[in-house]
Amino acid sequence: MASYRTIPTSSMSEPAVPAAGAPAAGEIFRAFLRIALVSFGGGLALWMQREIVERKRWLSPEEFLAGLALARVLPGANQVNLGTHVGARLAGGRGALAAVAGLTAIPFAILVVLGEAYFRFHEVPALRAALHGAVATATGMALAMGIKLARPYAARFDAIALAAAAFAGVHVLRWPVPWVVLVLAPLAIAWHRPRASANREAAVLADDRAGDSRREKGA
């Protein structure tokens, strides 16, 4: 592998490659604080994608989506797992703690206040109706971001087949999500198994990218 490292990296000109440089724990905390604030209902992973991949460019889209798959297979809350994974990739254990703290601090405070209000004043019908309307809107925003996420794969038959199989696994076969991932993941990885030169080049690029961020972290 060492000889490949002399190949000049294209990370400055390649838009899909995240900007190099490992963020500090404080920056990770603030990013996840922001993500938690704008997310409602089930859209959290998609807001994370927007902040981490599109705005900050800390991870490439594929790195992020693979992390999301990893977070879904492991036990625990998917979103918190994803935060742990992203934080740990960016800045190790401190990064993971910063991400989880950022993700949970303000929502926790909001929930405690809402919960206390609920138990003190019990049920206000108008409040329930407002929550219902807010969830309908949040679902639409999740749908929009799901469409954005799917766009790069619109012309790739193998990707469409995999996505459709995952969707059908959940809604037609009604399997739990972890089963769907455990069945489809080996098939998908086998389909993309390392072959000849094209994949080796991709691996070298990925390696250079990681090397860049590591060097900046040390500096």
Partner: protein, 181 residues
């Protein structure tokens, strides 16, 4: 809140943390059984209301356990706060530790072409799962054509305009409060 209650909160959510494959919704029935039937922390109706509150609040949905811990701890004041914090720490701690270990293994595979293959292969699966989640949320909330219309109109607005998501959210809540949805 007694020490027994605190121990029950930690034991309940600490164990659910490691079996909650796929997130909170896979262990919701077990949470309900423990909080309502086994420990009598709240009524069935209150449990459903707490679910609705946590759905509409920002942040990870698994933070719903804060509301259960709050009630178990006495609903208000410092005792309730301790219950809420204990529930969240127990629910996310063990799973986070496991994810941290798995991420370290993932990083060690950095030079492997297999990791690139995994990233390329897993991404489309995730796209399919995200689509599936959207349908699940929509089904549980959108029970009539108006609600579906609001959901689809919001998606179109997000894709076609630069309107702020929080403004859309406020508009949805207002329409709901006025009885339109």
């Amino acid at each position: 809140m007694t020490l027994l209650t605190l121990a029950r909160i930690l034991a309940l959510f600490g164990s659910l943390s490691l079996v909650s494959l796929g997130g909170r919704n896979s262990v919701l029935p077990e949470m309900q059984r423990a909080a309502v039937e086994q420990y009598g922390w709240m009524s069935d109706r209150q449990f459903a209301d707490l679910f609705a509150i946590s759905e509409a609040a920002p942040g990870p949905s698994s933070l719903m356990v804060a509301l259960i811990g709050l009630k178990a701890g006495g609903a208000t004041g410092a005792s309730g706060l301790v219950g809420a914090f204990a529930a969240v720490a127990a629910m996310i701690g063990p799973a986070c530790f496991l994810t941290w270990l798995a991420t370290r293994g993932w990083e060690r595979l950095r030079r492997s072409p297999w990791r690139a293959a995994a990233e390329r292969g897993l991404a489309p699966i995730t796209v399919g799962l995200v689509a599936a989640s959207v349908l699940t949320i929509a089904r549980s909330n959108d029970h009539d054509l108006v609600a579906w219309g609001v959901t689809l109109a919001t998606a179109a607005l997000v894709l076609g305009t630069r309107v702020s998501p929080l403004a859309l959210m406020a508009a949805g809540a207002l329409l709901g409060a006025l009885g339109f949805i």
